[in-house]
């Protein structure tokens, strides 16, 4: 399961970023969002960064402490905060630049699809985001 981005429908409105931070921080904070929009200047298209939930995920294989694992039920890459040491190897190896760091906790965070029904997909006004099962 993963979030699919149709860039031809993305308007750069950032509602996905806001909904994500609202869900996890109960406040608006783009630097805490697990999905991010690069607001490129046209004709360069907008770019959306979000976890592709890779089947052979380099973040999982490179994590030295086993903090990243695949949820066998939903097929989602999850972070075990207790095991994360903040070494940031996963951030380095992610081909989609979709893992971020909480500099206060020194732990990484990423899209875990809100446990199956992602809030950003729910709020995206023009269906640029969909869930691929």
């Amino acid at each position: 399961m993963r979030i699919n981005v149709d860039l031809s429908k993305c308007t750069g409105c950032g509602i996905c970023e806001l909904s994500c931070s609202l869900k996890y921080e109960k406040a608006f904070n783009l630097s805490k969002a697990r999905i991010r929009v690069e607001k490129n200047i046209p004709p360069k298209m907008f770019k959306v960064y979000v976890c592709h939930q890779c089947s052979d995920a380099p973040c999982i294989s490179s994590c030295p402490t086993g903090a990243l694992n695949k949820d066998s039920h939903l097929d989602i890459v999850k972070v075990d905060e207790d095991k994360c040491t903040g070494c940031l190897v996963c951030v380095e190896v992610c081909p989609y630049k979709a893992i971020w760091v909480d500099h206060v906790k020194m732990k990484v965070f990423k899209c875990e699809l809100c446990g199956g029904s992602p809030f950003c997909v729910d709020l995206c006004p023009w269906n640029a985001l969909t869930v691929e099962r």
Binding site: C13, E38, P43, W126
Partner: protein, 613 residues
């Protein structure tokens, strides 16, 4: 404080010092934010009668409680400063992703004073403030500048606002550009240019909190559903308005010699969007996505790309100069964006010069070889370049705005110099929509299509009501002025009039305030706040020597003495007696003295504005 970042950042470009001050709760309760709070601050610290290019002029970039939250249409911020074009207090609104970023960096307002000795740009990275050398980017276009700065700072997440060559050259109607959006009007880019400030870049990692997360999500969903059903903005954007307004006979054409443009179909959104649209763009938190990126594929101007051009630009660089070659129009719009020029003023100034050329007031010698005929797209593009770089005698003169240009050119050309209070007329007819003669004249900015904003109501009325009656116009202007100052303080986009109220302060505005700040406003409080903000701006005008004489002398003579000669609104104009009736009634509604136009003492007292001058 919910909804606010809670601080003001003050930067002095002369000393390079900066200061973070708390945003007072008392201030936001009386003035909300954005324009309201900025006007109050300028009243307290800006010297009266200051030259706009004085190092002491202050430029504010302000946000309101809605920015950075999930309120639809809140992707806007407002620049406020003394304008070099009108020499008045001026606010120029901009979309994109700039305003929310300032709040995430921890500031509701950015106040810039002083003048740097060398070209610089300002970096606001949370509490890290840095003034950096801009000698390498001075002279670059607005798009180049944004890319270079993001590259230099090593993060695409920085949101940049900058000026182009026009702002550096102190063109009086140069525009501040961010992303593909512009704070176009009033020449505030020239104020930045006069301070040697090329740009500022913002990145923030802080949170904006709201009192009730579930309630704001519910509000978002409700408005987003309505936005998606809008009859034309999500699909065609504002370019769709052109044909409609032309069919009403209200489209400024040939420097307002006519209000019906035969070539309208060639540049109307319904024609161009299906052929030329690349994709849709929205500002932050906007489900309306009214921005359309269009590209010209063939012909002389192949490769030209612009956002829009929006309705106002289709008017100013299209019908007003009689250019129906869409490629030439897009190219001119793109040049304006790259050089950082206001498309409205640029088009009106060039249309004025074209009429001078047509009437023989200007010759080919004066234009230095340009065959400045109406309808000539090449001449249009050439003049845009000459204005941005103040090239040649005429380019340099036109860069001063149509008021100054007509004073210098003389020979009666002031009759058709289309401006109110020095600000060039936008694309909403002061004859076909008579209320606009009043709206522009009593607006603090003059020829802005936002201060009076009568067309949100008038376009849907009958010809008789909009063009031949004046009875209810003062009340319409009064109410919409109150609506607009609130929206400029909250801040919400004017495109949301259909959802937040297009007539007057509304329950929706109260709800937005509650959802963001948790402050309870009654409708009565809201009206009073709106009247307070408008009246305070009036006090700033009065302090600079502007009063009734400037309002009553505002309309171009063409509006008062030359009826629309053809088309569906044929015969419409605003007679002097109608104009005087409207002004007097408007003053009564505002509580301003009929003879002087100065707010009455009892009104100032009621609004808490009876402060020492």
């Amino acid at each position: 404080m919910y909804g606010y970042a809670g601080a003001i950042l003050k930067v002095d470009l002369k000393t390079g010092k900066f200061l973070k001050e708390p945003l007072s709760e008392e201030l936001v309760k009386s003035y909300i934010g954005g324009l309201g709070v900025s006007a109050r601050i300028l009243y307290d610290i800006l010297k009266p009668n200051l030259d706009a290019f004085s190092p002491e002029n202050i430029i504010i970039f302000a946000t309101g409680p809605a920015q950075g939250t999930l309120i639809p249409g809140s992707g806007r911020g407002v620049f406020v400063a003394k304008s070099p074009l009108t020499e008045r207090i001026f606010n120029s609104n901009i979309g994109g992703y700039l305003a929310n970023e300032l709040k995430y960096a921890g500031y509701d307002l950015l106040i810039i004073t002083g003048k740097s000795e060398k070209p610089v740009y300002l970096v606001i990275d949370d509490e890290n403030i840095e003034i950096r050398d801009a000698s390498r980017i001075w002279g670059k276009t607005t798009y180049e500048t944004q890319e270079i700065i993001k590259e230099e700072l090593g993060d695409q997440r920085f949101q940049v606002a900058c000026i182009g060559p026009a702002g550096e050259n102190l063109v009086k109607y140069s525009a501040i550009v961010h992303h593909i959006r512009a704070a176009g009007r009033g020449g505030l880019a020239a104020v930045m240019g006069s301070k040697n400030l090329k740009a500022f870049a913002i990145r923030g990692t802080k949170s904006i909190e709201v009192p009730n997360v579930e309630a704001i999500v519910e509000f978002y969903k409700e408005i987003a559903e309505k936005c998606k059903k809008h009859p034309f903005l999500p699909t065609y954007g504002t370019p769709a308005l052109l044909g409609t307004i032309n069919k009403m006979g209200c489209l400024g054409t040939k420097n307002w010699q006519s209000e019906f443009f035969k070539g309208a179909d060639n540049i109307d959104g319904y024609t161009t969007i299906p052929k030329h649209k690349l994709y849709d763009v929205a500002c932050m938190v906007c489900p309306l996505r009214c921005g359309k990126v269009q590209k010209i594929d063939a012909g002389k101007y192949a490769g030209a790309i612009a956002k829009g051009p929006e309705y106002e630009t289709l008017y100013s660089l299209g019908s007003l100069v009689c250019v129906d070659d869409f490629g030439a129009l897009v190219s001119a719009a793109r040049l304006c964006d790259e050089y950082g020029l206001d498309t409205i003023s640029t088009g009106v100034v060039i249309a004025f010069a074209m009429e001078c050329y047509e009437k023989g007031i200007l010759t080919k010698e004066d234009t230095e070889g340009v065959d400045l005929k109406f309808g000539d797209g090449d001449a249009l593009n050439e003049m845009v370049k000459r204005i941005a770089f103040r090239k040649g005698l005429l380019g340099n003169l036109l860069a001063e705005g149509v008021k100054k240009a007509s004073e210098v050119i003389g020979c009666g050309s002031q009759f058709f110099a289309m401006h109110f209070k020095g600000l060039e007329v936008p694309g909403h007819s002061p004859r076909g929509l008579k209320g606009w003669t009043l709206g522009y004249s009593v607006g603090w900015r003059g020829g802005s299509h936002h201060d009076g904003r009568v067309h949100d109501i008038e376009y849907s009325r009958t010809l008789e009501e909009r063009a031949f009656k004046v009875d209810d116009k003062p009340e319409i202007v009064y109410k919409t002025v109150c609506r607009v100052v609130l929206e400029e303080s909250l801040i919400t986009c004017r495109m949301y009039g259909g959802y937040y109220g297009s007539r007057e302060p509304s329950e929706a505005h109260i709800k937005i305030l509650k959802l963001t700040t948790n402050i309870d406003f009654t409708l009565e409080d809201l009206w009073k706040t709106a009247r307070r903000i408008r009246t305070l701006i009036r006090c700033l005008e009065v302090r600079d020597g502007f009063d009734r004489k400037d309002d009553i002398n505002a309309p171009p003579l063409r509006v008062l003495y030359e009826p629309i000669p053809e088309g569906p609104s044929k015969g419409a104009y605003t007679s002097p007696s109608e104009f005087r009736f409207m002004i007097n009634k408007f003053y009564k509604l505002m509580g301003w003295d009929l003879e002087t136009g100065i707010p009455k003492q009892e009104v100032l007292k009621e609004l808490g504005l009876d402060m020492p001058n």
